[in-house]
Symmetry: C2
Subunit: 525 residues, 2 copies
């Protein structure tokens, strides 16, 4: 593909109008002034180029127009991409965006799904059949009720369990407490079943809280989350996917204005298939046909195809038809959607019997009738020793932290037992000075001290370190490079640089370490 | 208003269906399971309450249903609000959201427009007539061309000039260079006209770049920006408005799927009027009727009404009809939209004559014919001495900054001339250690030194300071409180705490100061 973005629009208009209509789009989406006001040089370089106009329907008269936009118009940016493909023209009528082909220059910058179909199957060790998923309902129940549901579903052998997308808490603490309760309930059930069930808490939060939630869940080792990309903002979704490489189940909340009329909007498959997948959905939920929503069988298949089809180097993503799916539908669904599907069954599963474990077993048995399930050992993934365990953050926000003998008033120091895990460290203590006690900072300031012969974990991570030596002398290892740190020497550890701090002297080695408040989990070199 | 969110939906359906349809909405948007699976306690506390169902049309049969949702469902969060009012039901058909009334508990948390109609008028000193605005076009032109256009429009006496919403640059440096060129061209013209023209550069960027752009523009004293809230994400827009208190002109790009059919979507006035205003639009641009877009006169008036009507303590916002507006329309527009309006005229103004200054003068004269213009002295607003001037950031990213006599290898120290401006300081030098040279940090680490008798500006700001004394001794004033800082004493300055650092000793006072990388401008106490 040349370095252009190719957009396909279906236009409902008379044959006499279609040429002018197509040209209007090419101008509106680029220079936004009439042809007469555009210098030829800009016209040639900037205005969209109509590649073809083809009749697709006689009554009502409709045409398919293909327009190429120079790739430079996207600039690698999603907000600008949305503006380019369906910005001003969304405000006109009878223009439906039905296809997108991306230039390699853009596609090669796209992360796409972190896990995708293959990654989720590997984590579960389940092959050869669709996955069964349900939702924690109804909103308004107590956390204990949700945790119990999650456990029962897991005991019944279900694969994925997500929060209801309406589920949210007023406070961050309430959210984390409930999410941990549900996660732990599922882990408890795993001890009985010997198979994993993956839990996806709903994250529905304003900008200020989204990162905090993701950083927390990532740090605590949650496998994935449920999110409504259009409600939180499409580019915010993309940003989270890139920064927090967990698994994302995408909910179509708030997208429906695009699907009211086939003469307008962005087509189902382009929006909930191609775009959601490119933004990073590992699973894309959509309303199944025949239920209480308006999607047709063709709409659903279009989404499935675009989630699974080859697209650059992107992982394929699971379609998850949902809404109005029943026990008796399973044979039809099986024939219709094939193996690489997540069945998201809420009310029908919950209402099937009074015992959710029995219901889940019954649904799973029904699914297995139609497929040849193959089980492998689940891939636990990388289990990191994480950062040194979370500080108790016993302090409160204060203005003054007087210093005395390498202690600060109002801030407790924590000494860690030496570790013999995968990320070993020795003779290390940490004091959280600023950032963990409620301060309004984008960073944390900590004071570390390493005793004689001690060392920190050998590790790497995306976030960076700033280190300032204030007591004794120490060594910073950066890969094979050795940097000796003396009084007030300052060091910077770049993203993903393998590093370790060592004390090779006979006196304590103390240093400030400044890190971003929201940060990723360290991993082994 | 009780503590509920009141949503009005217009439903196109038969009289026999409307009750069930309305009930479906109340359940779908809250518990998302059938009534039979909802315990009575949750039904009473959580499910939406239908207040009324009223016929509004006979053919096609249509009804107006009013539903109250408990305010706790919003939780003060915009993503959850969108999900609640039009999440899943957007995926059904024939449901149009036509009204919203907010609980005080939510409304009182809303910032709304930073300037609004009154603030913009005060800054311009222009009353009694609509404002004239144009756009820099066409995309693809050189920066010098745009700067020249901006200048000519300002010389003609135009009020507001914005970028084309398609205008974007590939690099941040290109963006800031062009924005500054256009801004300076306008300031140049002001010297001639003696009246202000306000310039709004377009910010269309991914999440990672948005804050950077806003922080830059805010710091450089730009009055406002153009932004497409739906393309960058509605809650991201709200977040920026609250964090960077400049003036926001909102573009309707990408919203149009809601306006294709009056039986579906969110009504024009609710979306581009109420919602955009609540999110923080000072000016809301929309396609004028009679031009090349699909809005009707009634749609436009609905938007105007909702931008201007009383709404809690929120400022009212300017409607800015745009698209297809011509010189000859001005009399009609004047009668139709009234005085509190921004006329956004692009192609017709640019194409009116070969000289943009003359065209602008002609349009302004035409506007004045229909109104009684009243001029006052423009309010310059608060002119801050800003932070100490930007460091040259001459360094590059390095791992090791060896320390020697309170200098760090590879980092230049800057001494400032003593200031006698509004925010005076004396005998201060600064060295940018980490954060300004390309490091990937959410914070900047600086070393300040204040000579004997010197002091920093007395100021306050939203961002916080962490200060660590490493040389000599000094005093941190927090309002009237006096904190003496000795070796390695650490201090934290909370948001908006008035503060100043002083050296009352005979030796240099040196300290590290850590600040968020993206931060607001200091203001006078």
């Amino acid at each position: 593909m040349a370095d252009v973005l190719r957009a396909t629009y279906d236009l409902t208009c008379d044959a006499t109008e279609v040429e002018g209509f197509s040209k209007d789009i090419a101008y509106e989406q680029t220079v936004e002034v009439p042809e007469s006001l555009v210098p030829p040089e800009i016209r040639d370089r900037v205005v969209g180029k109509i590649q073809s106009i083809t009749p697709i329907s006689e009554s009502p008269a409709a045409f398919r127009t293909v327009i190429d936009y120079p790739a430079s118009h996207i600039g690698g940016q999603w907000p600008q991409l949305l503006n380019l493909i369906y910005g001003n023209i969304s405000l006109k009528k009878n223009i439906r965006l039905t296809g997108l082909e991306f230039p390699d220059s853009f596609l090669s910058t796209i992360y796409g799904p972190n896990y995708g179909i293959d990654g989720i199957r590997k984590r579960l060790g389940v092959y050869g059949r669709p996955l069964l998923s349900t939702a924690l309902k109804p909103y308004g129940s107590k956390p204990e009720v949700f945790a119990e549901m999650a456990k029962k579903f897991a005991l019944g052998g279900g694969d994925l369990i997500k929060d209801d997308h309406n589920l949210h808490e007023d406070s961050f603490d309430d959210f984390t407490r409930r999410a941990l309760m549900c996660r732990d309930a599922v882990l408890e059930a795993e001890k009985t079943t010997g198979r994993p069930t993956l839990y996806f808490p709903n994250v529905m939060a304003p900008v200020e809280e989204l990162e905090r939630a993701l950083a927390f869940l990532h740090r605590e080792g949650f496998f994935g989350i449920l999110i409504s990309p259009f409600a939180v903002g499409l580019d915010m979704f993309r940003y989270l996917v890139e920064k927090y490489p967990i698994c994302y189940m995408a909910h179509p909340s708030f997208t429906g204005a695009h699907f009211f009329d086939d003469r307008h909007g962005i087509a189902h498959g382009v929006f909930l298939g191609t775009m959601f997948r490119m933004l990073g959905a590992d699973v894309s939920i959509f309303p199944n046909y025949g239920g209480r929503f308006s999607f047709t069988r063709q709409d659903c298949h279009d989404i499935c195809d675009r989630l699974r089809e080859p697209l650059g180097d992107l992982a394929s993503a699971f379609p998850a038809p949902a809404g109005g799916m029943k026990f008796d539908n399973i044979p039809t669904m099986s024939a219709d959607f094939g193996v690489e599907t997540v069945y998201l069954i809420g009310g029908a599963l919950i209402g099937y019997s009074s015992d959710l474990t029995e219901s889940t077993q019954a649904f799973m048995a029904k699914v297995r009738e139609h497929f040849n399930e193959r089980l492998e050992d689940p891939d636990e993934g990388f289990v990191s020793a994480c950062e040194l365990p979370s500080a108790k953050a016993a302090g409160v926000v204060v203005n003054h932290l007087p210093f005395n003998e390498f202690r600060w008033e109002g801030r407790e120091s924590e000494a860690y037992k030496d570790s013999s895990s995968d990320l070993p460290f020795k003779n290390v203590s940490r004091c959280e000075l600023i950032g963990k006690h409620g301060e309004n900072t984008a960073y944390d300031l900590r004071y570390f001290e390493i005793g004689p012969g001690g060392f920190s974990s050998l590790e790497k991570h995306n976030h960076t370190h700033t280190v300032i030596c204030v007591r004794g002398e120490g060594v910073l290892m950066l890969g094979d490079e050795r940097i000796e740190l003396k009084h007030l020497d300052t060091a910077y550890v770049k993203p993903m640089q393998v590093h370790q701090l060592r004390n090779e002297s006979d006196e304590p080695f103390g240093f400030f370490c400044i890190v971003d408040h929201e940060r990723d989990q360290p991993v082994k070199p």
